[in-house]
């Protein structure tokens, strides 16, 4: 909002105060209509459809067939929480992650939850759900301490505070206020130039970043609960703006266990589900939903097995030839940069890049060791990555297309990559640098009737 005021004032050349007052006026005028819109919202679930009538001046009737509903998302941003209202979004199968769906801007929480019950259980509203069904069974929670620790070691929440800080610095500089410039100048004088001082500064900066990340993690994921209800899972989280996401279990295409090197040391992991069509709107923009933002690795796997009993942790390693590829890809770029910098830039830059190249060698090694795949008990396990390691368990019924690809380097090394495309919004997962025989073998096991006629040696239709 503040940014918007700033932009408008910049563009129109009027003072921000005037712009702010105008916007406030607009809000005051629009408010009664919004309230009336809320009062006038009625819904009906019947004949396999959800019908919502809303609006004051323009009455609108929106209809969504129930079997196209992928999820019902109830969220309560801060402003809504103050008034006891929630936002509802019913996501349907058409269109991309950002389009369509049915949105109710501000309704009572009890109405929203009744609507969700009605839609997801495909019963007309007004049916009596037992108290146990309504409550559901809590599968997992996360203590705040774990969230803080996980956040501090994840680096994930750094982007937002860093961006905010950069924005603030820019604004201060633009404000061009005399005393601020003086302060900045004195601040620059204070920065140490001796190695010990610089080292201390770096450590302090890292500690600050970790602290901010921990706080961010606690705010976003605090109070996390994973609740099991008939046919679906509900993930609730958030200390400030509480958010609840409902996942239709039959739409889960894959489970994913994630960790990173610091997390592995701390024995932490996260569990995510790749769901066809869960709405974007928060950071999980591509149909990935957190089932457990952080927890002990054992508990994460236990939870995965509870949600999907066919889950397994078995993996077969990839061919040795993949090792050199991982090493080269990890270290080559910084090494090349170091060589270039040695010629063109001051020597500390070259040294820094060379150090990065050396540090990337164990990363490359770890990336190779992380590679694995195995099709077992009806789940395709795929793992890759080091700094961000993901172990996916793909449900073969959720795969919509397959692609085997082979770059010239892979061809020389006798490797290829098998990629399984999941349903809309869920992305894809791959088996990276596998032997071609293994790729073909996996294809044959996943879709025997489809793939067998395509294997070498099988007769082509209309041949000879």
């Amino acid at each position: 909002m503040v940014g918007l005021i700033g932009i408008i004032s910049l563009v129109t050349g009027r003072s921000p105060l005037v712009v702010g007052l105008v916007m406030l006026g607009a809000v005051v005028v629009a408010a009664p209509f919004a309230v009336l819109a809320w009062l006038r919202f009625t819904y009906r679930v019947a004949d396999g459809r959800l019908e919502v009538r809303s609006g004051v001046l323009t009455r609108a009737v929106r209809t969504i067939p129930l079997d196209r509903v992928r999820g019902v998302d109830i969220s309560a941003p801060l402003l809504h929480r103050l008034t006891g209202l929630v936002q509802v979004r019913v996501d349907d199968a058409a269109g991309g992650a950002s389009a369509s769906g049915l949105r109710l801007a501000a309704v009572r929480r009890s109405d929203a939850e009744a609507l969700r019950e009605a839609v997801l259980s495909r019963r007309p509203a007004g049916g009596e759900a037992s108290a146990a069904e309504r409550e559901g069974r809590v599968l997992a929670t996360v203590p705040l301490g774990t969230l803080a620790l996980a956040g501090a070691t994840s680096g994930r929440y750094l982007a937002v505070p860093v961006a905010a800080l950069a924005g603030a610095l820019n604004a201060i500089r633009d404000a061009n206020v005399g005393w601020v410039d003086d302060l900045a100048g004195r601040g620059v004088d204070l920065v140490p130039t001796d190695p010990a001082g610089i080292a201390l500064l770096i450590v302090a900066a890292i500690a600050l970043a970790a602290g901010v990340a921990a706080v961010g993690s606690v705010i976003v994921d605090g109070g996390f609960r994973l609740i099991e209800r008939p046919g679906r899972l509900v993930a609730e989280r958030g200390l400030v703006g509480q958010r609840s996401v409902t996942i239709d279990r039959s739409r889960v295409r894959a489970l994913e266990v994630r960790d990173s090197p610091p997390w592995r040391v701390l024995d932490l992991a996260a569990l995510r589900a790749m769901v066809g069509g869960v709405p974007s709107g928060e950071r999980d923009a591509r149909g990935r939903t957190a089932l457990l933002p952080a927890g002990p690795a054992d508990e994460v796997w236990r939870l995965a097995r509870e949600i999907d009993p066919a889950s397994h942790a078995g993996l077969d390693p990839h061919p040795r030839a993949a090792l050199s590829r991982r090493l080269v890809r990890a270290a080559a770029l910084p090494a090349a940069g170091a060589v270039v910098a040695a010629v063109l830039a001051p020597w500390p830059v070259a040294v820094a890049l060379a150090a990065v190249a050396v540090l990337m060698v164990p990363v490359g090694l770890d990336r190779y060791r992380s590679l694995g795949n195995r099709l077992q008990s009806g789940r395709l396990g795929l793992r890759e990555g080091s700094l961000s390691r993901r172990h996916s368990l793909v449900v073969p019924q959720g795969i919509v297309a397959y692609r085997v690809s082979q770059s010239p380097f892979q061809r020389r090394a006798g490797l290829c990559t098998l990629r399984a495309f999941l349903g809309q919004g869920a992305g894809s997962r791959r088996a990276l640098d596998v032997a071609p025989a293994r790729a073909a073998g996996l294809l044959e096991r996943l879709e025997p009737d489809l793939v067998r006629p395509l294997l070498a040696g099988a007769p082509r239709p209309g041949d000879q």
């Binding site: 297309a401 085997v404 809309q424 879709e447 294997l455």
Partner: protein, 171 residues
């Protein structure tokens, strides 16, 4: 295409049965030649402007440009033939199978039950040659694209795919 040595380094998938319409070679060659032409024109303009403005080694530049253009022409013609040989497709009873690429190769398999839409597009050059590109869309980002098909083949492809998609589970 799958000799003994290749059999060990490539997935043992046989090539799909059908090739594209041969006219697509002309189309791709034309694309390449047009791009080369644009570069040539830009280069000539640049050389002319530069000669008028200053004192450049005009002969060397002109030679360089001529070499570039020759390379472009050769690449367009040869590239079109190679790309044609390495883009093949097949409608099998259970799915669509497309092989594509010479330098980086890929084999794409889409089960019929997963196909959500079949889209046909054609640029002006394609239309002039009576060809179009078919894009088969699934619920994911993966679309299988088959360029260079004539209308008759496309109509038959649509019928076949529609018939085989049947009552599959939609995603």
């Amino acid at each position: 295409m799958t000799g003994d040595a290749a059999a060990q380094t490539e997935p043992r998938l046989r090539p799909p049965a059908e090739s594209l319409d041969p006219r697509v070679k002309r189309l791709w060659a034309l694309h390449g030649l047009i791009a080369t032409g644009v570069v040539a024109v830009l280069g000539i303009v640049a050389i002319v402007v530069w000669s008028l403005a200053g004192d450049p080694p005009a002969a060397a530049l002109a030679a360089g440009l001529a070499g570039l253009v020759a390379l472009g022409v050769a690449a367009s013609l040869v590239g079109a033939r190679i790309a044609y040989r390495f883009l093949r497709f097949e409608v099998t009873p259970l799915g669509l199978y497309v092989q594509r690429g010479w330098i980086t190769r890929s084999w794409t398999i889409v089960p019929h039950t997963r196909i959500q839409a079949v889209e046909t597009t054609s640029g002006p050059l394609e239309r002039a040659l009576g060809l179009a590109t078919v894009e088969v869309r699934t619920a994911s980002a993966a679309a299988a694209r088959i360029p260079g098909l004539d209308e008759g083949r496309i109509a038959r492809l649509r019928e076949d795919l529609a018939a085989m998609a049947g009552e599959g589970e939609a995603t």
